[in-house]
């Protein structure tokens, strides 16, 4: 992290000017001073806690159908009741419970797909950036090819062949969304390739693997974490899209995209069936994006926007 940080925080405190303030404290101040990052982290943290505690918080079984309780409107509606705060769906399943369990699906897919694609993209990008020359030419070509493939179409076609399921969606998105990791890992590695600490590691006789994993990787990690948040958001939106089109997570699982798809036939008169899962998706992706933007600002305070 650079040391000239104090001028960029939205609410700079006097403390940040003093050299005695420890690094973590300065980071903390910057974190608290960045409104978007703070807000995003709080919302995201809340959603994560709700998802983890879903089995204890959900008022009903998310899979339990009840034909006599179909399409009950949410509590703010005049016909709503506290029994089903967000109402019920066409099979009489409690919407709030499905929403809570759905958060688990979105978060699992976002995190796992981003980890897989992060592994692929970082490996390719670091190799291209560190070795340069032919290796770089080949890997850059692979990245260009990957960018030219229409992600949504390829994902749809493949999941139609393989059969949609939670695991398949994770693997598919993991294999498709690595391009930005590769691009960022490549350019940050290029910047550090000739740095002194890399040269001294070489002089000390460290192996290439050691240099890449122990010396280089920690220094490009912060940039990769920013990409990670973006790709998590991307994966969550794509999963919802695949599930909405019927080729992602399969019923009866409470994926938010699937909930919107199932509610589509009723949306004209019962708007809330698509409004609730749609807003949930938007809030989750918004929170992840705010965290990502905030982390980027913390890494490079000059380019804040």
């Amino acid at each position: 992290m650079s040391d000239s940080t104090s001028t960029v925080s939205t609410a700079p405190s006097a403390n940040t000017f003093l050299p005695v303030v420890p690094e973590w404290r300065r980071m903390m101040n910057r974190f608290l001073g960045h409104r978007g990052l703070l807000m995003g982290s709080i919302i995201l943290g809340l959603i994560v806690v709700l998802a983890i505690l879903a089995p204890w918080l959900a008022p009903h079984d998310p899979y339990l159908q009840n034909i006599s309780q179909r399409m009950i409107p949410p509590v703010w509606h005049e016909k709503g009741s506290w029994e089903h705060i967000f109402g019920t769906d066409k099979l009489g399943r409690d919407y709030l419970s499905r929403l809570l369990y759905g958060a688990r699906i979105s978060l699992t897919i976002g995190l796992s797909a981003a980890l897989i694609s992060g592994l692929i993209g970082t490996t390719l990008g670091v190799l291209a950036g560190y070795f340069g020359g032919r290796v770089d030419a080949v890997i850059s070509y692979i990245i260009t090819t990957r960018l030219a493939m229409p992600v949504v179409l390829v994902a749809l076609a493949m999941s139609a062949l393989v059969g949609g399921s939670l695991q398949m969606v994770i693997i598919l998105l993991g294999l498709l969304l690595w391009d930005r990791f590769a691009v960022v890992a490549r350019s940050t590695t290029q910047q550090l390739r000739d740095a002194e600490f890399i040269a001294s590691a070489k002089v000390l006789g460290a192996s290439t693997t050691y240099i890449l994993v122990r010396e280089l990787l920690p220094n490009i990690l912060s940039a990769l974490i920013v990409v990670m948040t973006l790709e998590m958001a991307h994966a969550i939106l794509l999963e919802a899209t695949l599930s909405f089109l019927g080729l992602g997570v399969q019923p009866p699982m409470p994926s938010w995209g699937l909930m919107i798809s199932e509610g589509k036939a009723y949306m004209f008169f019962k708007t809330w069936v698509i409004a609730i899962p749609g807003i949930a998706l938007m809030v989750l992706v918004l929170a992840i994006n705010l965290v990502g933007d905030g982390l980027r600002d913390m890494n490079a305070p000059e380019g804040r926007n």
């Binding site: 493939m149 229409p150 390829v154 393989v162 958001a233 589509k264 749609g278 998706l281 918004l286």
Partner: protein, 305 residues
């Protein structure tokens, strides 16, 4: 300049071929096409018959070159499901998708560039924050859900515009808004960052100190440079939109390429899937190639690379 164009063209061509190989392999490795085409209730003999009829018993390399040789002559074979050649299906549907993509990109550009410029000039004021909020929300909203919301509000409740179909120009308004809002944030942010960077540069200070009026500084000197990366992004976004139109077309029942692809995917109509993936990839490659050339014309420094 000619050498530059020729070199880029060569790369573009080889990327297109690589994409066709990869998409061919992906489809053929994801499952047994003969079984998928025959359907779940067919006997082993029927599957074998289909395998022979469609040439699926031949080695994959042979199948690929056979396919590529026809594809180069714009012959993509016959659709398994629709009683028509793939080429005539595509030429029927392509204008709809291109219209949608063009309108959406136009809409996104018309909003993104002025908004980005204003946000940069009025940095850190409420206008800037409003512009960023609009961008952040656009990035978080699933496009299919935004499309459904537009239908509920403008078609069902206000009766201003039709909900689906592609008979008149009115049918394209809502889909173009849904698709355009998805592309707008990235362009807006890039315009804003570009303008901020340029406005702080030395030559703008010189222009101002020469006593040029502010509008001439902004439009003649600053915008022209800030807009260069936006041109490249716009081309890339159009490519993404053609690929992503499958979702919007299915929401608005637009009979375009995306809908064709989706119908083909759900009916295991692989010649169509394969052709649509390739055509969208070729469009993307062409667009990025054009963006490179336009960029090189706007900015001579890029030509030497």
């Amino acid at each position: 300049m000619l050498v530059f164009i020729f070199r880029r063209l060569l790369v573009a061509l080889s990327v297109a071929i690589t994409v066709s190989i990869v998409s061919f392999m992906l489809l053929h490795l994801s499952g047994d096409l003969a079984i998928s085409i025959a359907g779940p209730e067919s006997t082993a003999e029927q599957v074998e018959q289909i395998r022979i009829d469609f040439g699926l018993d031949k080695p994959m390399v042979y199948q690929y070159f056979d396919w590529l040789w026809s594809a180069v002559q714009l012959d993509f074979g016959r659709s398994y499901y629709f009683q028509d050649t793939v080429m005539s299906l595509i030429s029927d549907r392509l204008p709809v998708t291109l219209t949608l993509g063009g309108l959406a990109l136009g809409l996104a550009t018309v909003i993104a560039i002025p908004l980005g410029v204003i946000a940069a000039i009025k940095q850190d004021t409420w206008i800037d924050r409003l512009a960023l909020t609009i961008a952040v929300i656009g990035q978080a909203m699933p496009s299919f859900w935004f499309g459904l919301t537009l239908i509920v509000v403008f078609a069902v409740n206000l009766h201003w515009l039709p909900a689906g179909g592609n008979e008149t120009w009115q049918h394209f308004v809502l889909p173009a808004i849904a698709l355009g809002y998805y592309a707008m944030p990235a362009m807006m942010r890039l315009t804003r960052t570009g303008m901020l960077e340029v406005l702080n540069s030395d030559y703008i200070r010189t222009a101002r100190s020469k006593g040029l009026n502010e509008s001439s500084v902004i439009f003649k000197h600053a915008l022209r440079n800030a807009v260069i990366p936006v041109v490249a992004l716009a081309a890339v976004e159009l490519g993404f939109m053609l690929g992503g139109s499958v979702v919007i077309e299915s929401v608005f029942s637009l009979k375009g390429l995306g809908q064709l692809a989706w119908d083909a995917i759900t009916r295991n109509d692989y010649p169509v899937v394969q052709a649509v993936v390739l055509i969208i990839a070729v469009f993307y490659i062409l667009l990025t190639f054009l963006a490179d050339v336009i960029n090189a014309m706007l900015d001579p420094r890029l030509r030497v690379r």
